[in-house]
């Protein structure tokens, strides 16, 4: 219990130190760009492939259900709203946690285990500013972009299955989508959600790596904890954000 409280306190302090040490991430934006490549660009393949399949499944399942009520023309709005409001931000965040989050934890954990962070400290270079903060901001910037791409390719997947393979009318597919999706209510809220998930997943991944015992077993446990904790945090935060955004609680 005491250890748990201590750890939460340490995590909060670590998060504050990351925010306070963020100056270099913007003054030397090249550091952040480099990390955006590793966390964002290298996650693109898994995000795009998953998004395509999720959209295709939505197209299939949506059509099966809607046709029972003679509403297959609403397929476009169903696919788009599902992706933009929920599946895009949530699934992209879960995939991001598995691909980039685990990689960040392992990298920071190994840097600690091999004394690279201690060496940096001894060179009077703050590892929080130089190593942690650029990765944090890279995650925060990458996550909404990845979620947007997930949703976009998902819509394309739904179009492929619904319009090209099944034969739903193309005009009604796009026009229903255009009239149903509200920019402020759906797209902006989706972006806010994914930004919050980006903060949560990246902060968890960085903290777990920084706090990992400097052993092979310690890094392995930290990596597992990153994926599990991030997944729970994303799903919990999604419920809270959805309640505020779409139900007006």
């Amino acid at each position: 219990m005491v250890d748990g409280v201590w750890r939460v306190g340490f995590a909060a302090r670590f998060f504050m130190m990351t925010l306070l040490g963020s100056g270099d991430s913007f003054r030397r934006f090249g550091l952040t760009i480099r990390e955006i490549y590793f966390t964002g660009v290298l996650s693109l393949i898994i995000i795009l492939v998953s998004g395509l399949f999720v959209g295709m499944v939505l197209g299939l399942q949506g059509y099966e259900t809607l046709q029972k009520y003679g509403s297959e023309s609403a397929l476009g709005s169903l696919v788009a709203l599902s992706l933009v409001r929920e599946l895009g931000p949530v699934l992209a965040a879960l995939l991001f946690a598995s691909r980039a989050g685990s990689a960040i934890t392992a990298e920071i954990g190994l840097m600690k285990a091999t004394e690279q962070l201690a060496a940096m400290e001894m060179m009077a270079v703050d590892p929080i500013s130089r190593v942690v903060a650029p990765r944090f901001w890279a995650g925060v910037i990458s996550m909404p972009l990845l979620a947007a791409m997930f949703s976009a390719i998902g819509v394309f997947g739904g179009y492929l299955v619904g319009v090209v393979f099944i034969g739903v009318d193309e005009g009604s597919f796009w026009s229903q989508m255009q009239s149903a999706v509200d920019f402020r209510q759906d797209i902006v809220n989706g972006i806010i959600k994914s930004a919050v998930f980006g903060v949560a997943v990246t902060a968890i991944a960085l903290f777990e790596g920084y706090d990992a015992p400097p052993t092979a077993e310690g890094v392995s446990h930290a990596t597992t904890r990153t994926v599990v904790t991030s997944a729970l945090a994303v799903l919990g935060l999604d419920f809270i954000l959805t309640a505020f955004m779409f139900r007006g609680i």
Partner: protein, 269 residues
């Protein structure tokens, strides 16, 4: 006028919780000298180094570097002091995502406004000093243990520090690399006019290159002196350590119950 000693340690104690690591040690490291701190694994050598570098704070006692109490420095003061220090970690601690060149250039780029052309020349000079100018484009994963240690040495002296600390610089090296690193420690110290502290348990190599030796055991300094005095020491612990005797105050066996009792060979067996 600056003190004759660059590092002064007085009545230093340190504990992790209730586990006392250092139990009141006193040491002085004179300017321009190479000083070895020796002892068995776990005797508090590396902890002493970390206290000098300000990574740990003493429980009681004092560590002064260039006349300044290390534990009293704020973060900015500590970083200012560390800019005049170099440290070689046990396995080099090279940044694995940077090339040899970038590793040596790291501190110059982070802490100076030197133009890139000057940084390039300085890095090549440091790498030349450790014989690895030709390896500037290699990544750390492509280096042998001895080469990695030499690159780390070049990185540690990148900004010409006044104090260079070595944490087990000879661990895991073949005899040639060991001799090369030993020579480099001495040569770089003399060329830079620095002071060096070598934490090691490699007695034969270090006695060739150091000016003074502190022997530690169980958190206290048990012996000290010039290398010749240490070699001639009649103290049982020092003699056992220097000559590698199996019998002596350091027991081969970890403390354990009676062998007969553990094997259940009692009278009734």
């Amino acid at each position: 006028m600056p003190s004759e000693n660059l590092v002064e340690i007085s009545d230093l104690t340190f504990a992790y919780g209730k586990n006392a690591i250092l139990k009141g040690i006193n040491m002085s490291m004179p300017r321009g000298k190479v000083v070895a701190v020796m002892g068995l694994s776990g005797c508090g050598k590396t902890t002493t180094l970390r206290l000098i570098g300000g990574s740990l704070k003493p429980t009681t006692g004092s560590v002064k570097v260039a006349g300044k109490e290390v534990s009293a420095l704020d973060r900015e003061g500590l970083y200012l002091m560390r800019r005049k220090m170099g440290m070689l970690f046990q396995f080099g601690a090279l940044f694995t995502d940077l090339s040899v060149f970038e590793n040596v250039a790291f501190q110059m780029r982070e802490q100076t406004d030197l133009p890139e052309s000057v940084i390039r020349d300085l890095v090549l000079m440091k790498l030349h000093a450790v014989g690895l100018r030709g390896a500037q484009n290699l990544m750390p994963a492509e280096l042998s243990g001895g080469m990695a240690r030499r690159v780390a040495l070049a990185r540690a002296v990148a900004l010409d520090p006044m104090l260079i600390m070595y944490d087990e610089p000879f661990a895991g090296l073949d005899p040639i690399s060991l001799s090369v690193i030993g020579n480099l420690i001495r040569r770089l110290n003399d060329a830079l006019g620095a002071t060096s502290i070598v934490v090691t348990h490699d007695i034969q190599e270090s006695l060739k290159i150091v000016d003074y030796v502190y022997f530690m055991a169980e958190g206290v300094v048990v012996a000290e002196g010039a290398p010749d005095e240490i070699k001639a020491s009649k103290l049982p612990f020092v003699h056992q350590f220097v000559w590698g005797d199996i019998d002596g105050p350091v027991s081969f066996h970890y403390p354990s119950p009676s062998y007969r009792q553990d094997l259940r060979l009692g009278a009734g067996a």
